[in-house]
């Protein structure tokens, strides 16, 4: 009789296992679980709704209309470089929605899947990261409106914008994931997180140049520098607008800072997640 056991992969379970930060071969083995969990979130999301996937378009669109009316028409905030305000704010809102959506969903993801964590083994990182796909789908749906807006106002996207856009999206995702990984792990132990996050995201919107251009801070150089260093979305949104519309120059300096900061955020979040993940099942 052949010894099947000898052919299969042997592994050791001990108190010190799972040291490596990212076990790529294991993640690859669990890629189907990643897909299935993302698919579950996507398909459950719009079950029993009439509008269905249209919600993903309606939400940023309605926000854009209301924000344009309040901040542009009433409060008289301008884009600063002649870009029509609806396009200006919509680019900001799209990226902001991607960023905040990932933080919001991933920080809740471990606790809402507590049952899975207590009963089945898989690389835990799959749960908070599977929300990225749903956020990306929303982002892509929302982008359709942007295309219409650009056509409506007669703007062609600049090549440079299209080239840096993937980088900007990756940076938004990685900084959001970093924060999300940290908060989701923290939420396992301290449920305060679920109360703080919505509030934190709401405040963060106002210290991110979504409804106003970053140039508005020209007189407050210290605040502007602080914002670019601490909030990667500041540089990302500013560069996305400059790149796509082409009315002002891309601030390469801010872009590089944002890339570095978002990668740093991702690493720190991942580090904390990895340090605590072994005990999720005991604490959740």
């Amino acid at each position: 009789m052949t010894n099947k056991a000898a052919n299969s992969k042997e592994y050791i379970i001990s108190s010190s296992e799972r040291r490596s930060l990212i076990n790529l071969s294991e993640l690859w083995r669990y890629r189907e679980l990643f897909g299935v969990l993302s698919w579950r979130d996507l398909s459950v999301r719009y079950k029993q709704t009439i509008l269905g996937i249209l919600w993903a378009i309606f939400q940023p669109f309605a926000t854009m209309i209301i924000f344009t009316f309040i901040f542009n028409n009433l409060a008289n905030i301008q884009s600063g470089d002649g870009t029509p305000y609806p396009i200006f704010i919509y680019i900001g809102l799209l990226l902001w929605q991607l960023f905040s959506g990932i933080i919001k969903d991933s920080s809740q993801s471990l606790t809402s899947n507590a049952n899975l964590i207590q009963k089945i083994y898989f690389p835990r990182i799959i749960i908070p990261s599977s929300v990225v796909l749903t956020a990306l789908v929303d982002f892509i749906c929302g982008s359709i409106i942007l295309v219409f807006l650009m056509v409506w106002y007669g703007f062609a996207p600049h090549l440079i914008g299209l080239l840096i856009l993937p980088v900007l999206i990756i940076c938004s995702i990685s900084s959001a994931m970093g924060i999300g990984l940290f908060l989701s792990a923290l939420n396992v132990k301290y449920r305060d997180v679920s109360h703080i996050v919505p509030f934190f995201i709401q405040l963060l919107l106002f210290v991110t140049p979504v409804i106003y251009p970053i140039k508005i801070l020209a007189g407050f150089n210290f605040i502007k520098t602080l914002m670019i260093w601490l909030n990667p979305m500041a540089g990302i949104i500013d560069c996305a607008r400059a790149g796509i519309i082409g009315k002002s120059m891309v601030d390469w300096n801010a872009l590089i800072i944002s890339i570095v900061v978002s990668l740093l955020m991702f690493s720190l979040g991942l580090l904390y997640f990895k340090r605590t993940e072994n005990y999720f099942a005991d604490n959740i």
Binding site: N3, K4, A5, A6, S8, K9, E10, Y11, I12, I13, S14, S15, E17, R18, E32, L33, V36, R40, S43, V44, K47, Q48, N115, L116, I117, Q118, K119, I120, Y121, F122, K189, Y190, R191, D192, N278, Y279, A281, D282, N283
Partner: protein, 411 residues
């Protein structure tokens, strides 16, 4: 000599007492606690309990190993460590095969998704590849017997259908090692039988199975080896009969029944159980006493029809008799949510001398098990003395009932 498929070396797992009372902390509490300990300079991390302590044993390929022990003996913790859900505090385990763990039926099922979608979802969560699910899809649907409900959201399923579908997916897991925790405690008797059959079938193709159960009959039926855990330590590994004997005879020295309540039921809370007026888990019958009175008090979280069911087994787990008043009458009294009290008396035949094990359950009139109360009440019968004063002993192999003679003039 092939290497064992599972090598468990000296593993221990520690839990902090009190962790159960605080399901989660808030930052404020933590800060308050921190300040407190600083101010009063008392470090009080709380005592530890060892859920497992120096557990070692090997499992060879294609063995079926049963794990038995009281509640809190560490059975579930052991399975959790083997399935890598929680790490051991000390020691290590070497696994030589793909592990599938069934610690619960229907993990990850989503109410809004259809049966078909849930098969893929649950299958993937349990570790099957899409190809494997595709290949087994028809078999799963047939086993679950859900017919045209396949494309209906699971939330519209009856609880029976739900359990059948969930088990069907799990039963088709094709990993070399299967870890199973009491999944058979749910569902009606027919379905439990079907599940046992499936496990038996799976084991015949050479899969290795670790099987935690409170049901000695299924352990006896399925396992070739057995591990007896008590307060986190291995008390015995080896022969199934010997293992069950030791488990059945462990400290049944008159602790209260409440000390080994099975608390797995979600909507029934049992507060007290008395047998012939005593809450001890050893019942000594008097000479010529011919009844057992069961008094069960508890709380229902939702209105339910409930009835008592008592199994009489011998100490090897062989079923001898059953007391099940609701089955005879086809009726179980419906209790409203809140406190309930069941008082039921069972008439005994002329029993031979011996020790018998009672297991108590709450069921509905359809034999669907709602809650396990305990499976370890020791009934000591002094036997029925004959006119000559001699007593027939069960251990002499002459059965457990002494049948009375029907006199000619009675006919």
């Amino acid at each position: 000599m092939p290497k064992p498929i599972i090598e468990i070396r000296d593993i221990s797992k520690r839990y902090r007492i009190g962790a159960e009372k605080e399901p989660y902390l808030s930052l404020r509490d933590e800060i308050a606690k921190f300040l407190n300990s600083r101010l009063w300079n008392n470090k009080n991390p709380g005592p530890d309990i060892w859920a497992l302590k120096n557990v070692s044993f090997n499992v060879e390929e294609s063995e079926i190993v049963g794990i038995i022990g009281k509640n809190g003996a560490g059975k579930s913790t052991l399975l959790k460590i083997l399935s890598r859900i929680t790490p051991p505090a000390e020691g290590s385990v070497i696994m030589r095969g793909r592990v599938g763990s069934l610690l619960e039926v229907g993990t990850g099922f989503h109410q809004e998704l259809t049966g078909r979608e849930n098969i893929y979802l649950n299958g993937t969560i349990l570790g099957m590849t899409r190809k494997e699910i595709d290949a087994n899809f028809d078999k799963i649907v047939a086993f679950a017997d859900i017919g045209e409900m396949l494309d209906t959201p699971v939330k519209r399923y009856s609880s029976g259908m739900f359990v059948r579908l969930a088990f069907a997916v799990a039963a088709h897991l094709e990993s070399e090692i299967l870890l199973i925790d009491e999944v058979l405690a749910v569902g009606d008797a027919d379905f439990q039988k079907k599940c046992l059959g499936k496990i038996d079938e799976v084991s015949k193709v050479g899969r290795t199975i670790l099987f935690v159960s409170h049901n000695m009959a299924s352990i006896r039926l399925l396992c070739n080896r057995c591990v007896f855990l008590d307060s986190g330590q291995v008390k015995y590994v080896g022969d199934v009969s010997e293992c069950i004997n030791r488990y059945m005879n462990q400290d049944v020295s008159g602790s209260s029944i409440a000390s080994h309540f099975d608390r797995k039921s979600t909507n029934i809370i049992i507060n007290s159980v008395k047998i012939n007026g005593s809450d001890l888990d050893v019942v000594q019958l008097e000479y010529n006493s011919n009844y057992l009175n069961f008094e069960i008090e508890g709380e229902l979280l939702s209105p339910l029809p409930i009835d008592i069911q008592v199994h009489f087994n011998d100490i090897h787990g062989t079923p001898l008799a059953i007391f099940f008043p609701g089955y005879e009458s086809g009726y179980a009294q419906k209790y409203p949510a809140g406190k309930f009290k069941i008082n039921s008396t069972c008439e005994l035949p002329k029993m031979t001398k011996g020790e018998y094990i009672l297991s108590l359950h709450l069921v509905d009139a359809d034999k669907c098990r709602l809650a396990n109360i305990t499976n370890r009440v020791l009934l000591r019968s002094p036997g029925t003395p004959s006119c000559t004063g001699k007593v027939i002993d069960y251990n002499s192999g002459e059965g457990w009932i002494l049948l009375p003679e029907k006199k000619a003039n009675d006919v």
